[in-house]
Amino acid sequence: MSGAADTVDVVIVGSGAGGAPLAARLAKAGLSVVVLEAGRAFRPDDHVPDELAADIYWMEERLSGGTDATAFGANNSGMGVGGSTLHWGAFCPRPDPRDLRLRSESGQGEDWPIAHDELIAYVDAVERVIGVSGPELYPWDQARRYELPPVARNAPADAMARGCAALGIAATDAPAALVSRDRVQPHWGERRACINCGTCHQGCRTGAKATTDTSWLPLAVAHGAEVRSECRVVDIERDGSGRVTGVVYVRHGERRRQACRALFLCAGGVETPRLLLNLDLANSSGQVGRNFMAHVATQVWGRFDADMRMNRGYPSSLITEDLMRAAGVDHAGGYLIQSLGVMPVTLATNLARGAGLWGQALVDLLDDYNRLGGIGINGECLPSDDNRLTLADETDAFGLRKARIDFSYGPNERAIDGHARRTMTAIWEAAGARDIFAVDRSAHTIGTCRMGSDGDRAVVDADGRSFDIDNLFICDNSVFPSALAANPALTIMALSLRTADRFLATRG
């Protein structure tokens, strides 16, 4: 094994939404920071607008069980310098204050150990760094302002606006973490205005979309951080007292060591708990891997008479938050609706799997690709004891056991799914869609190392610090105590800045 003898202040594992902002903030504060990222580094131009050829996903096998087994691979995890922000949809609603206090409100789910006001201050800081386009007035938060004007709506967005207007549902341009005008990103260069190419999920080739490799990481590097790509962390070293002393990683087949004073695991909602379970670390609570959550992400589709060509344009350019707390419902929490632009291969896979279609019906729908339009939700998912990440007996190429994720909807998810189907079907009927049908889907990998104030019920505290090991921190999608209806990445980045500040404030 070869190793850097130097001990750095901080090693960060993973360069996505959770790892990158704190890398920048800690480096700026003068700490020595090394980010270890399993994937490759890309330039925007390297991306390829082709669904099978795009090489920015975590494609190593995961096992998925339960009655609502969730899809992995291109559906929800990234690999590369930038993590899942390389392929995220950049749809960035803010977390709703009610969602952070879901248990107090409904008796179900969990409350977050962080106040909404405090979190929003960090959200605001994130938005200022990455650049968000959005409407002039946000109907559900009158005081909110976005830096950049909204991106062009596409055909499904126009249809959704029509349908919502007919039903009296408020809808507006979605907040999107992309630049609708050319904008200089400090320490990186000019991010070119969004060109409506529609290939956000395959990687943005203009730099319009906010990704950590064109924002936080260059900022971190400008302040002395080092980002090492193609470095897979496989082990965590500890001293006699159990404190972390460094990590072992594999680069091009060679094992190396990096010593550190503190370690931040930001490897995402699957890899972070998988590593901890494989190494049997930080789990005195028995909570590592528990409470896996995936947003209810049901879609409703239909045919239009018009030529929609939904692959054009930023994919999710319209939003409504009206269903965040619908009247007279039998479920806790709520959901957001967004318009969709889905590429053909993803659509075909979802229709075959999630809508259970085959035969002439499937061929006819796919032939009609240019006339289809869809809308989808991002809905609350409650933590549940039944939904958990465990280790399979099979091992990966590094000898670590693969993750097995069991996920089944509970009554609340079913209720949200049912409500959303009815609502979206009504919107789509009002918009003039025909042959309307729904597709089952869940998205995002949330929970598995939740934060809380009680070390028996949570893996880390509100600062992201492990209850068991005081120089081990977690900051990524796995620390969420509850799912929140808002799509996660903006909140993860905000938490990342907060985790950095708390670390700086509390370190001896």
Partner: protein, 446 residues
């Protein structure tokens, strides 16, 4: 659809060597026989192999074929293979290459040639030009039996008028350049022809030096010919070319799609992956012939009138063979290769011969599988596993089919043409329903 065959002659020859081959191929496509720089009376030029490939790029691009083949003889064969490599890598000048034919072709590796012979041929220019005797020696040494007149005079005449720079450049440098890495592995269908009486570039050399670069290739040996195949056996050569090129042209993407793919709205990398996917898949070896037949029948039932069942079954076998899946699998199913073989075997058993059933019966069975209501004693998978596997199978079938360029063309999808390699990517200017831009010429099925 503009369909063309480009012919590249051998050292010391000219476009004329193809006359009698082309006569037989006029209905296959427009035949363009080129004089390589320095031959056939064209201006002499000192080009290395890269220079020759660039020259060919100019010739092809000027004629803008949407669907084309390259036929390379001897020296021209090395240029043909390297053009195919550039097509594979997304070079817009070579977009639309559908087939390669190599005749007694010089390989990407240094060409095997006895050093004294090389020195002798280089020496022919010591007195400023190649003499008639030297030309006759050259032509006769490269034919199985002397060519009849007036062909022999034509051939020797072409040797005599070879340019010094071109002749010596090839012998001293071009033939020795090693392009094996750049050539790599090519998926474009290739026909590799050797003369039964050829020496250094005969069948053995073709198998050893050219065949490994082509994934989808066939070697043919023409009797009664040495090295100058187009002169010696034009009818046989033409028949082989026809047989190889016609089906390849038949698989061409529609003209508007091909033109869009070649345009500056598409990046090299995108063009490369799309063309690669359009080619036949690499051979798979996970599925048995019986399992492949069941899979083909399944494809036909899942996507009736859509996918080519045999092609798609081959693609899935190739995917299983590569071991690269979609990043996850059901926890109740074994690893992909085993899941597919067990799933297909179980399906066959449930049906009592799935491939032999009518499509209605197959469809009915799949409904029962999807309801987890069918199981068979002794089958690999139980009803629950079959339900899960069928969900996986139909998603994979749909995924593979939808990703094919031919399917993109079929549904009128142009989302790959949203930005080339320039600093400003084009994207879409119009996104509203029922609006379209000038460049969007792919038709949507009605």
């Amino acid at each position: 659809m503009v369909t063309r065959l480009f012919f590249l002659h051998a050292l010391g020859a000219s476009a004329r060597e193809w006359d009698r081959v082309i006569e037989e191929l006029e209905d296959v496509g427009e035949c363009v026989a080129l004089d390589l720089p320095g031959f056939g009376g064209s201006a002499d030029a000192d080009l290395d192999v890269a220079g020759l490939v660039d020259w060919l790029a100019g010739q092809v691009a000027a004629r803008q074929p949407q669907n084309w083949a390259v036929v390379g003889h001897s020296m021209g064969g090395k240029v043909a293979t390297l053009a195919a490599a550039r097509a594979r890598d997304g070079d817009p000048a070579f977009a639309g290459l559908a087939a390669v034919v190599l005749l007694a072709a010089s390989p990407p590796a240094p060409e095997p040639m006895a050093e004294e012979r090389r020195a002798e041929m280089i020496g022919w220019f010591d007195d400023g030009h190649i003499s008639a005797d030297e030309a006759a020696t050259f032509v006769d040494a490269n034919t199985a039996t002397p060519l009849p007149e007036p062909l022999r005079s034509q051939a020797t005449g072409d040797v005599e008028r070879s340019g010094r720079l071109a002749w010596k450049g090839w012998l001293e440098r071009g033939s020795r350049e090693d392009w094996q890495r750049a050539a790599g592995t090519l998926s474009v269908p290739a026909l590799i022809v050797a003369g039964s009486e050829d020496g250094d570039l005969g069948e053995q050399a073709q198998r050893r030096l050219n065949l490994p670069h082509y994934r989808d290739a066939r070697v043919e040996v023409v009797a009664g010919a040495a090295h100058l195949l187009p002169y010696e056996q034009p009818a046989a050569v033409a028949a082989l070319i026809r047989e190889h090129v016609l089906p390849a042209f038949g698989r061409a993407l529609p003209a508007p799609f091909a033109a869009l793919l070649a345009s500056d709205r598409v990046s090299r990398r995108t063009r490369a992956v799309i063309m690669e996917r359009h080619a036949a898949p690499p051979p798979g070896n996970v599925l048995s012939p019986e399992q492949r037949a069941v899979l083909a029948a399944l494809v036909e039932t899942v996507l009736p009138g859509g996918a080519d069942p045999v092609d798609l079954a081959g693609r899935i076998d190739a995917m299983l063979t590569s071991g690269i899946g979609d990043g996850w699998r059901s926890a109740d199913l074994p690893a992909d290769a085993e899941a597919w073989t067990s799933g297909l075997d179980t399906l066959d058993r449930l049906a009592g011969g799935f491939a032999d059933q009518t499509s209605a019966d197959r469809d009915q069975l799949l409904h029962a599988v999807n309801d987890a209501s069918r199981s068979a004693d002794g089958a690999m998978f139980d009803a629950g596993q079959m339900r899960l596997w069928f969900a996986e199978a139909r998603a994979e079938i749909a995924r593979q089919w939808m990703a094919l360029p031919a399917t993109m063309a079929r549904i009128g999808y142009d989302g790959f043409a949203v930005g080339g390699d320039g600093p400003r990517k084009q994207g879409y200017r119009r996104t509203a329903a029922d609006t379209i831009e000038d460049w969007q010429t792919l038709e949507t099925p009605s």
